[in-house]
Symmetry: C2
Subunit: 241 residues, 2 copies
């Protein structure tokens, strides 16, 4: 493991994540997998970091076996590259990868919204409103990611398609790796709450055409912002080494 990113106070250290989430799991494999994913998504473990099994086992206080099982699962989620006899490396982030990710989100999320919108309840809309308001006052990066995900997932929740929803949630989680760059680029405050309100209004009016248009524009804006950010500041490539 390399540095726990002490230069960026918004990124928690991996050790902090380990201490915080240790008692929440019954099996060591679950614990290691969840915490490693959290570390990668939050930026505590930057792209390019080689993940040595022995080292991780010591940090987590377990043997190498649960570490290996956790690495296998992270590999299936495309968060690490696993090469036989060479080990695991955290996948790198880049403008190209971000656009790739947005291509998936722009395929999945409008579909989920279209399926869900006719069945959205008043309670769903209220929960989405709450999420927006909570975001207004949130200053913590990880929690902001959770709230953003909660807002969107609430709108998709009635889609009645478990696979689709799981994919949507998974790829929104991967987006968390880019969230702090988007916030750097667009600023914390205004963010894109305009889009969120417009999307919510269109959903309340059951206007699928407008809702989809807003959602697509919302995602395209974020994609564009990240592209420009990476183009301007290639020095801030998050890959260590």
């Amino acid at each position: 493991m390399t540095s726990p990113s002490p230069e960026n106070p918004a990124v928690p250290s991996l050790d902090a994540l380990i201490a915080r989430s240790k008692p929440r799991f019954r099996t060591a494999t679950e614990f290691v997998e969840f915490t490693l994913r959290d570390g990668i998504l939050s930026g505590a473990i930057p792209g390019g970091t080689p993940l040595r099994q022995e080292e991780l086992a010591q940090q987590f206080g377990v043997s190498r076996m649960p570490v290996r099982e956790a690495l296998r699962q992270l590999e299936s989620q495309a968060l690490i590259d696993f090469t036989p006899h060479k080990g695991a490396v955290v996948t790198s982030i880049s403008a190209a990868d971000a656009s790739d990710l947005f291509a998936v989100r722009m395929a999945l999320e409008p579909a989920a919204l279209r399926l869900s919108l006719p069945h959205l309840t008043q309670a769903d809309l209220l929960r989405a409103t709450d999420a927006i308001h909570d975001m207004d006052q949130e200053r913590d990066l990880a929690r902001m990611g959770d709230l953003n995900r909660r807002f969107h997932m609430t709108l998709y929740a009635q889609a009645n398609s478990p696979r689709l929803l799981a994919l949507v949630e998974q790829h929104m989680a991967v987006f968390d790796r880019y969230l702090r760059f988007e916030l750097s680029a667009l600023g914390w405050d205004h963010l894109k709450q305009d889009d969120h309100h417009a999307l919510l209004d269109a959903c309340a009016a059951r206007d699928i055409t407008t809702a989809e248009a807003v959602l697509i524009r919302h995602l395209a804006t974020a994609d564009q912002a990240l592209r420009e950010f990476f183009a301007c500041r290639q020095d801030v490539r998050e890959d260590s080494r």
Copy 2:
């Protein structure tokens, strides 16, 4: 492991799959994971089958560890349900699950096609044509699935979005679990080659609107056929036990 489905000659036995694919991998984990997935997707291991680690280890001629790692990866791909201290069970198939799968495919594949179509080369179109012609004479179920996947993936190949393409290919592979039911429902011959030709023509003409409409109809038809098939013959539920 339960019966190797001797009642259905179209489904190969797991032992046959093991013998055929043993020497193709460098690590035992890869070998077990690939072969188990093949077994699940081809129907050799039906939904609901409990997967005992010790038993699989003996069948594959390895120890329990590579089996466990393989099961972890299959769990990440939603092919098995893994419960701590209880073990793994192959996920069941159903009309609802098929529709769920088609919801994902109808979200992903039109998006991939839209991204890929402008960059399709003449060589791509020729390869797609070849795949269609090969399908006309194919009688083997597994190979038919491969050809169908090859035809579609060829049309999406220029999408320049690795994540999107990986998801498309993965979910087309999962569809193989339902392919033999669709063939039972619609018959082997005409299948839906009409759709394939129409889709190919629209792609050759760079007509994205028509191509997308054909593709969506193609998928919707298959979804509908499977729904009716499962509704009529609930007795043929593929789950053992």
